[in-house]
């Protein structure tokens, strides 16, 4: 089943064409990587999918629903979770609240019930806090539940951001450079971790990454962007040997 389809997506920032003629077909359960040099338009594609920017042209469909024109929270509520290249946690809030906030769309009670703490409020809040703690436990952050997010070390902040994205209960998870700032050892752990959450939460994953080791190691398909244009797409082995890619992006010879 095709989960995400982007057709002829184009996005301009003023005169700058950040994304041109972008096409994508993502099958449910797939793990796809997007690579490309800085400024290639990778993050912009995530922002187009999640509604931060409106595509200038083209269509993006998720489970048959057109995403172009929807607001970010509507798109997120369709079960698309994401992380950010530069961590964007709610820094002054607690770890637990960071995860609870992402339950907003699932919390099924009205403003009146919230104002009086009646009706569905109690049951829903209990369910949310239980689920948030379950996620924190899975991510080994439970003992930090009451800690202010900004006090966490960098690596844990990255982990918390993924936990928060999973609180959306996503079908599709978008990871923007999850290995940024990690050493080779940590990257190995992250690769295992991504494959584990993918199986555990039955996720389809689209990830942007610079670390070739990670991309080549876990992605089933890879898309190469350069200056907003798609250079190549295919399985890792094909990408590694694609002359266009080698020439334009990888430059110094085969990668591994």
């Amino acid at each position: 089943m095709t989960l995400l389809v982007a057709t002829q997506v184009r996005h301009l920032f003023g005169g700058l064409c950040a994304v041109a003629d972008f096409n994508l077909e993502l099958q449910a359960g797939q793990l796809m990587g997007i690579i490309g040099p800085n400024g290639a338009g990778k993050t912009t594609i995530f922002n187009l999918i999640t509604g931060v920017y409106q595509a200038t042209e083209g269509s993006i469909r998720f489970n048959g629903t057109e995403l172009v024109g929807l607001t970010p929270h509507q798109i997120t509520a369709l079960r698309i979770g994401r992380t950010f290249q530069n961590i964007r946690l709610f820094r002054d809030l607690s770890v637990l609240d960071n995860v609870r906030i992402a339950h907003y769309a699932q919390a099924n009670y009205s403003p009146l019930e919230a104002l009086l703490h009646i009706g569905r409020y109690r049951r829903e809040e209990q369910r949310i806090i239980d689920n948030a703690r379950r996620l924190l436990a899975i991510f080994k952050l439970e003992h930090l539940a009451g800690e202010t997010a900004k006090n966490l070390p960098y690596g844990l902040q990255r982990r918390l951001e993924i936990a928060r994205a999973l609180a959306i209960d996503p079908e599709l998870l978008l990871l923007d450079e999850p290995a940024a700032g990690m050493n080779p050892n940590e990257i190995d752990q992250l690769m295992e971790f991504i494959q584990w959450i993918r199986a555990e939460f039955k996720l389809t994953i689209l990830l942007i990454e610079h670390q070739m080791k990670l991309v080549m190691g876990i992605c089933e398909r890879i898309k190469v962007l350069d200056f907003g244009e798609t250079l190549a797409e295919g399985p890792p082995t094909a990408i590694q040997n694609d002359p266009k890619v080698l020439e334009a992006y990888l430059g110094e010879g085969p990668v591994g």
């Binding site: 931060v52 709610f90 809030l93 607690s94 609240d97 403003p111 919230a114 949310i128 800690e147 959306i168």
Partner: protein, 361 residues
């Protein structure tokens, strides 16, 4: 403190009956004090002002503290509530025969103010920070000049002869009701939405928070409470005019918010109480009465040069206090922290400052 004692104290704070019992005692006192004249009339009046200011402070804190905007419109919402309620009790509701109808007028004042809150919420979708502050200031000025230009409601002269319907029990009731609602709102998905908007609005939207809806609700609730406070205020002062609800009134509330500390209900209650009491102390009559016991040769010059001029000094002290608090004490009495008793049990583990009293860089 003795460990056993501390344990007992903590146990006591955990009891489910504690809050209802305290409320019952409070209500009892609110009825008994005026009934049996336990405190003199002036102190009773101050108590009522404290209650009204608590409502104003907690509700402004929702927007300025929890949401992180800087609204200056609060006195405008207060004016809307005051005028609506005053007109109702004077022209529509037969409150003379049925004083029990008074809460209807207060409720109506709050609801009309809440509708006005929507008007300020709409620009907040697009505009934040300083620019939104200017828009709220414009709103305040528009409210004032609209009132000044409607002759039916007294224009710049205002409305005299409002019935004195605000009593200590009513103030107590409305204070408890509004603070309770705001506290409930804060500890719900909407309240967390408000906090996440303050932290990072785009990330908030991307975590499924309907930011527009949350802003609507927060502005409406905040202005509703301001309207309620205005209605109570009008029926206590018995006279309202556009001048009563100018920028000075907003500044008063701002000081109470920042003195008490942002994003804290307990802080707002303390801030409002402390500031109201301080301002009352700085009244010439109060100060003179308090220092009465001094020997005459000290009291007389003091009275002549300082005490009688306190009215002027208040206007100096007030803005100065705001500047000083914001510069040197940005956290106020309990910024970002909360009384344990105000936090629903379920939320306590998530409340950052309980486990993290020290500010780490």
């Amino acid at each position: 403190m003795n460990i056993a004692l501390k344990y007992c104290w903590n146990e006591l704070l955990e009891q489910a009956w504690l809050v209802p019992v305290l409320l019952l005692i409070g209500f009892g006192l609110a009825f008994a004090i005026p009934e049996y004249n336990w405190l003199n009339k002036y102190i009773q009046l101050v108590l009522m002002y404290i209650g009204i200011n608590i409502i104003l402070t907690v509700s402004l804190n929702l927007v300025n503290g929890y949401m992180g905007e800087f609204s200056l419109a609060h006195a405008g919402f207060m004016a809307v509530g005051a005028y609506t309620a005053a007109l109702l009790t004077m022209k529509v509701l037969p409150v003379a025969a049925y004083p029990v109808l008074f809460p209807l007028a207060v409720l109506a004042g709050g609801m009309v103010a809440a509708v006005m809150g929507l008007i300020v919420a709409v620009p907040s979708f697009k505009i934040r920070g300083d620019y939104l502050a200017i828009i709220t200031l414009a709103f305040l000025m528009i409210v004032k000049s609209v009132i000044e230009n409607i002759d039916y409601i007294g224009g710049p002269r205002g409305i005299p002869g409002i019935k004195r319907l605000t009593t200590l029990p009513w103030v107590f009731f409305w204070t408890v009701a509004t603070v309770w609602m705001i506290r409930n709102f804060v500890y719900s998905k909407y309240g967390r939405g408000v906090l996440s908007i303050r932290e990072d609005e785009i990330a908030s939207d991307l975590m499924s928070v309907n930011t527009k809806r949350v802003k609507f609700l927060a502005f409406m609730l905040s202005s509703f409470c301001a309207g309620v406070a205005g209605a109570l205020f009008a029926h206590l002062l018995q006279f309202i005019s556009p001048r009563v609800f100018d920028i000075i009134k907003t500044t008063d509330v701002l000081i109470m918010v920042y003195l008490g500390g942002i994003a804290s209900i307990g802080g707002s209650i303390l801030g409002a109480t402390a500031y109201t009491a301080l301002m009352e102390l700085l009244r010439p009559s109060t100060m003179a009465a308090l220092l009465d016991w001094l020997p005459e040769f000290v009291f007389n010059p003091l009275n002549q040069y300082i005490i009688q001029n306190l009215g002027v000094w208040r206007m100096v002290i007030m803005p100065l206090l705001l500047v000083l608090v914001m510069l040197y004490w940005p956290r106020g009495i309990m910024g970002q922290r909360e009384f344990r008793g105000f936090i629903p049990r379920r939320d306590r583990v998530a409340h950052r400052r309980l486990n993290d009293p020290g500010e780490k860089p």
